[in-house]
């Protein structure tokens, strides 16, 4: 197991290095971060020269990449164009984004697996057809349309009906927070519910389709017929024999979709005006801020690699035939 983990992490590290270099080139070559400053006639040339020196823009692109790498080795992400250190800010935003990503992943697993199982158990029933139709519709709807609809219609209705703001549609928390832990938790939750539902609605359809297909595959297999013939209770057949086998491929799909969830989070955060990693990435790209963009990519990619490793280890436990050599 340990050699397997080390090898996977090594491959992940190589991917990260290559990705960081390619993205560094792409972002650096996409324009001059000081263009706005230079276009302003009131800025003296000395200031621009100083900024260029501070940002190492007068050095070659490979030298700049090396400077970035040495920052990474020291454990920080370098400074942004505006001069503040990227690391501490990013870690704060990561916590906010993880609220959304973790919440949506958990809810999507429950929704996807649950609906898939129900659909397969009642194949060609009204439930199955409605679930299938809903999955197709949500699968074909962009994240931002779902978000805008929930925000403009559901939130307004619910808040009117409740007579107070239950579902917040803007920001990741209230501007003024009471210090007590309980009220802060409540405030976070009220701000997180709608974005989590939004991201869940576009994530679960693929998983539930997959779960349904796997369930049907397993249900009609010979060993399930045998299990029934042995006289096992239907419940035991479902939980121990069908579900355990049908979950195996779905777990992989969930792992593979992690990066997509982070991508969806960028859009969701944008719709709900969250000041989190998505907004960080978007401003980074717009301002040609290499260190900011790379910090985002390294952090999300690192999380995705670790999560996928975890998924593969779980996979090994679910399916004893798989040996991680």
């Amino acid at each position: 197991m340990l050699p397997y983990i080390i090898r996977r992490l090594a491959i992940g590290a190589v991917v990260l290095v290559v990705a960081s270099f390619v993205v560094f080139l792409l972002v650096s070559l996409s324009g001059d971060p000081l263009a706005q400053l230079k276009a302003n006639p009131h800025i003296p040339p000395a200031v621009i020269a100083q900024r260029e020196r501070l940002l190492h823009l007068n050095e070659s692109i490979f030298a700049r990449y090396w400077i970035w790498v040495s920052h990474m080795f020291r454990g920080d992400f370098g400074n942004s164009i505006a001069g503040y250190p990227v690391g501490p800010i990013l870690w704060g935003k990561l916590g906010v984004t993880l609220r959304l990503v973790v919440g949506a992943t958990l809810l999507s697993v429950m929704f996807g697996v649950g609906l898939g199982v129900i659909s397969a158990r009642r194949q060609y029933s009204v439930v199955d057809y409605s679930a299938t139709f809903a999955s197709f519709v949500f699968f074909s709807t962009p994240v931002f349309v779902v978000g805008i609809l929930l925000k403009q219609f559901l939130a307004v209705r619910v808040n009117l009906a409740a007579g107070k703001t239950l579902l917040y549609t803007l920001g990741q928390q209230s501007a003024l927070l009471e210090p007590s832990f309980g009220s802060r938790l409540l405030d976070y939750t009220e701000h997180t519910i709608l974005p989590v539902i939004t991201l869940t609605l576009v994530t679960y359809p693929a998983w539930s389709r997959y779960q349904r297909a796997e369930m049907l595959d397993v249900q009609n297999s010979d060993y399930i017929r045998l299990a029934r013939a042995k006289g096992l209770s239907p419940r035991r057949v479902l939980v121990r024999h069908i579900l355990r086998n049908a979950l195996i491929p779905v777990v992989t799909v969930i792992g593979l979709d992690t990066a997509a969830i982070f991508g969806g989070a960028v859009v969701t955060e944008s719709v709900f005006g969250w000041n989190a990693m998505g907004q960080f990435l978007l401003t980074g790209i717009q301002q040609i801020d290499v260190n900011v963009v790379l910090a985002y990519l390294m952090l999300t990619a690192g999380i995705v690699i670790l999560f996928n490793l975890l998924v593969d280890i779980i996979y090994g436990y679910l399916d004893p035939r798989i040996r991680h050599a």
Partner: protein, 335 residues
């Protein structure tokens, strides 16, 4: 529906679908190509029916797929509306009419926005851009995906390594983040929608490539490939005449579904301001511009959103129908 036979004809007839091989040796491969498919075995056993090609059987299954056919009709109707309707419509998408903030009326069935743009003209133009862009994406990703997938599946070695590492990259970093970084360039280059289409195509080809590689890995071990090689067929001929035609089903299905993916990605990029740039327009851009109006001037938001969802839904249903038509046993192809 003039598009239908063309789309399926080229797709389901492997002999015409594959380009003429350049490296074939002699004309002695005919027996191999004439090898009957399982479907034609079944069909010729029915006395009244003459030998029916596999392509016809697939076409027939697709035509019987009601949901897919309805989606195809609707998709073509939207395309024709965008293509022809926008020429006949009195307003162009960029024209400012004198009706400001008008709700849906006889003259402006989709209403107008705050500066007097006719929304019907805008939605037609925007959905045309989205569809054309997604077709570019499908073409680009299919060509790259089939080429690299075929090389990786047939020769293994470095094309396979390249494909696998590129796939690792795509699975590790959110595609959206990669596209956002790339499309920053597009925003600089006057924001041509074609450029956006090309970069999406250059990023999402891996799914087709993995499918083709997977199919070729098993096909290349089959006896008919051995026979072709024994008859003197070169690598190029084997790949183009014998391997790829047998993988055409998954390629077509995946390419169709990539149209849906492309429309969603394009609209998302445009929504975030890094996709199609004004004065060009796309459905994502329209929705982005009008997102605040969803409850007040609902027509500004609803019509682009409905068009977007309906188009993507149609493409997904068509892809589903094609999958059923190509693979009636319902076994999914795994890469």
């Amino acid at each position: 529906m003039p598009d239908n036979p063309g789309l399926l004809g080229g797709a389901t007839d492997p002999a015409t679908g594959a380009p003429a091989p350049s490296t074939g040796v002699g004309g002695s491969t005919a027996p191999v190509e004439a090898m009957p498919s399982p479907e034609s075995f079944v069909d010729t056993s029915v006395a009244a029916v003459a030998a029916r090609s596999q392509g016809r059987a697939i076409l027939r299954r697709f035509l019987r797929h009601r949901l897919a056919m309805a989606s195809l009709v609707l998709f073509v109707a939207i395309l024709l509306l965008d293509e022809i309707g926008s020429r006949l419509w009195p307003y162009t998408y960029s024209q400012l009419t004198d009706a400001l903030n008008s709700g849906p009326t006889g003259g402006h069935p989709f209403g107008t926005d705050g500066v007097g743009h006719d929304m019907f003209a805008q939605v037609m133009r925007a959905s045309l851009t989205s569809i054309e862009l997604s077709l570019v994406v499908a073409a680009v990703s299919m060509v790259i995906g089939v080429a690299i997938g075929a090389l990786a599946g047939y020769y293994r070695s470095w094309p396979e390594a390249f494909l696998m590492r590129f796939t690792d990259l795509i699975l590790t970093i959110p595609i959206l983040a990669i596209l956002l970084v790339l499309s920053r360039q597009a925003a600089r280059h006057a924001g041509s929608w074609l450029f956006i289409g090309l970069i999406i195509g250059f990023v999402i080809w891996t799914s087709v490539a993995r499918l083709v590689r997977g199919a070729l890995l098993s096909l290349r071990e089959r006896d008919f490939i051995e026979a072709a090689r024994a008859l003197g067929a070169g690598d190029g001929r084997i790949i183009l005449r014998h391997l790829l035609p047998n993988a055409v089903g998954p390629i077509i299905v995946n390419t169709t579904l990539s149209v849906a993916t492309a429309i969603l990605l394009e609209s998302t990029l445009s929504f975030l301001g890094l996709g199609v740039q004004p004065p060009q327009t796309s459905l994502g851009l329209l929705i982005s511009q009008n997102q605040g109006a969803a409850t007040t001037e609902w027509w500004l938001f609803a019509f682009p959103a409905i068009f977007l969802v309906v188009i993507v839904l149609c493409v997904n249903f068509i892809g589903d129908g094609l999958r059923d038509a190509f693979d009636p046993r319902q076994t999914r192809v795994r890469a």
